[in-house]
Amino acid sequence: MATSASVHAHAAPQGFIRKYIFSLDHKVIGLQYYFLALIAVFVGMFLSLLMRIHLIWPTAVLPLVGEIKPETYLSLLTMHGTIMVFFVLTTAPQSGFGNYFLPIQIGAPDMAFPVLNMLSFWTTFVAFVVLVSAFFVSGGAPLHGWTGYAPLSALTNSGPGEQLGADLWIASIAIFCIASLMGALNFITTTLDLRAKGMTMMRMPLTCWAWFITAILGLLAFGVLLSAGILLLLDRNLGTSFYVPLVVVNGQVMAHRGGSPLLWQHLFWFFGHPEVYIAILPGMGVASQILSTFSRKPIFGYKAMVYAIMAIGILGFVVWGHHMFMSGMSPYSAFAFSIMTMMIGVPSAIKTFNWLGTIHNGRVRFQTPMLFGIGFVSLFVSGGLSGPFLAQPVLDIPLHDTYFVVGHFHLIMGVAAIFGIFAGTYYWFPKMFGRMMSESLGRVHCLITLIGTYAIFMPMHYLGMAGQTRRYSQFTEVQYMTHLIPLQTFMTYAAFITIAAQFIFLFNLFWSMFKGPKASDNPWEATTLEWTTATPPPHDNFGGRTPVVYHGPYEYSVPGAAKDYVMQTDPAGVTTH
């Protein structure tokens, strides 16, 4: 437990560069992450739009990219996945909101290591620039998908994008790993060491728990991806054979001998599966926070929620093999991975049950953050229910590499996490910028996005069951898939509408930043520490005060209390926990 003075060794900076560019303030760094993710999400979304257009009109010449050749399509796919997974889903909910609100919610004046914090943002930024630069080098962006399967990714002559573009891709991922490790280090140390007096671990908001567990996942996972990436770089550029067996490319026998492409898959998915939870856990935290606040009820089963986050985190490390059922793994291993994977359904169901229990009989305030919170739960359930299908090897074999998988992970990890980000944005915007976002625009945005994403991703399950494979740049000429064209066309139009709706959000965000009605310090009548301080929070978060915590995070409608919510710092009232 620390005092304000001992942690906040740096005073409020004066110059523009120290204040907004190379800032040590976790709030500024959080916003930097957020806006980096905002840029990245629009880039990634643009790439997905190009892919959707190309699928329906394969010969169309598109703006900026021209005619889409098969390799261009694979480049778009690779860059869409990489940008979205790393620079949006990992960056915004964890590094963005986590940086801004973890210290405030635990009553700390800043992160444990502010300089490291600044470095981790700027390293992430460099990683993003390096990744995007792959579009502009000779040969273009890589083709190997966000999973970078060897040997395609491990040979420089396996395709046009696999030259410099793939090296830049690997470099970007490696830099991102280092940035994420620095961030995770900061999050864990901050949570363990900087909590205010009275803020026991079991009084932390579930957002903090989610950020904390996510940081541990990142800490253990990103080092593995880093080592996998280094092996890949060596294979590509220095002639080693970690991943490449004897292989013939364009009639030419390569010098590599005896490597194993499966080694890459094991190392990658050992990182890759926890990464899925890195993307979704913070969203779960935000949803818990919002559902409780807007239902005016304590979260249902706080301890169960905490243990469920932990269980998901632990199980997340022992299920990576379910991505590899088709790789010829031993049926015994497949069985073990299958059982472990289905076990994740248990803590996930506990969380869902508790969210529903939280809303049940609550005096629900249907404001925009709440709508997105409910949307999150909806998408999490819809996407999650197709998980047990894919977790079983016998079902995964026909469904693997079809649109079923694409639909599954977009719903549960992609859009659900995005809904977590939206919910967090609408919820914390008043605290971050001191103004309210437009409620009516927010509702329109939520409605179109929810219906739109279902319209895009639900049909994918049927496409997959009908046998449509993913990653194919053209299917309209393939006879067994021609009857799927109308459904695909519908999805493309749905994508147009959904993407258009995001500009409503963008307008709302920037318009409200300057023109929105002024927000009070606690517009949602919430209980956690960020709502006890000024709006926006001062440089040291609490204006020289050191908060003392007396209550759990979700004390709504406490019998006998004067108001229907008891702030965590309220010394009066009914003391619980």
């Binding site: 003075a5 001992s6 060794a9 490790l181 280090l185 864990i188 140390t189 490597g259 080694l263």
Partner: protein, 246 residues
């Protein structure tokens, strides 16, 4: 109407966590801030916690390389001449004598890092006494363990470089065989991590020539010493793997 005089909180200097020293109340530069004096005991604890957390991904990084080593060692290679799978893991001929010398150097540097850590802890403990006007503690500098550690660490890195040269002389280059690839990779990865420690210690040694507050330096030296011990143990693990699991 009576009023009580406002109580002024008197804070007792807190005991430092590891070295048993009481950090001084006013400790010089706090990084250009001015909103309070740094509490070195707390900062030391936080730095140590940060280090402990940071060791986890480093360990994971090496664990994944080692597991790749074990997997790769067991894999057969397809021989295109005979169309059969053969075992093609060529055991590396390690320059054993040189590596043992390097191990000795690293062990010695780990010891001297520990002595440097204890020395600066003692100096930090005595700093408040030294700040009393008219009190002298005699020869304050003591034996330069920090510089010795830097030299021994540098010696280890040079020794590793020589080991690579001997490997190359024996015909084992990076891409010769998977075994030699791993040998170069593991030693290089360890060397890079150790070089980071050398740079930090060098920084601490150089700034000690200027008048930086000893407590700030103590945190750097303390944390790096622990890191250094970890690097030593890691090297024993890597060396054992490369030697015993050829």
């Amino acid at each position: 109407m009576t009023s009580l005089s406002p109580t002024v909180p008197v804070s007792v200097p807190e005991t430092g966590q590891g070295g048993g020293s009481a950090p001084p109340r006013f400790g010089g530069d706090d990084g250009g801030g001015g909103d309070g004096y740094p509490d070195y005991g707390r900062r030391l604890r936080r730095a140590r916690l940060g280090l402990a957390v940071a060791l986890a991904p480093i360990l994971m990084f090496f664990v994944s390389l080692v597991s790749a080593y074990i997997v790769r060692q067991g894999l057969p290679t397809f021989d295109d001449k005979t169309n059969t799978y053969v075992r093609e893991w060529i055991p590396v001929e390690l320059p054993l004598a040189l590596l043992l010398v390097n191990t000795g150097l690293l062990a010695a540097s780990s010891l001297s890092a520990e002595l440097a850590r204890r020395q600066i802890t003692r100096q930090a403990a005595l700093a408040p006494v030294r700040s009393i006007p008219g009190v002298s503690l005699g020869n304050e500098a003591g034996f330069p363990w920090l510089w010795v550690t830097v030299l021994l660490g540098g010696g280890f890195l040079v020794g590793q470089w020589l080991a690579w040269q001997q490997m190359a002389d024996r015909g084992f280059y990076l891409a010769t065989s998977a075994s030699s690839s791993f040998m170069y990779l593991l030693t290089a990865a360890h060397g890079v991590h150790l070089a980071g420690g050398v740079v930090v210690l060098l920084y601490a040694a150089v700034v000690s020539l200027f008048h930086t507050p000893i407590e700030a330096r103590r945190i750097v030296v303390d944390v790096t010493a622990w890191y250094w011990h970890f690097m030593f143990l890691l090297w024993i693990g890597i060396f054992g793997l490369l030697w015993l699991m050829r």
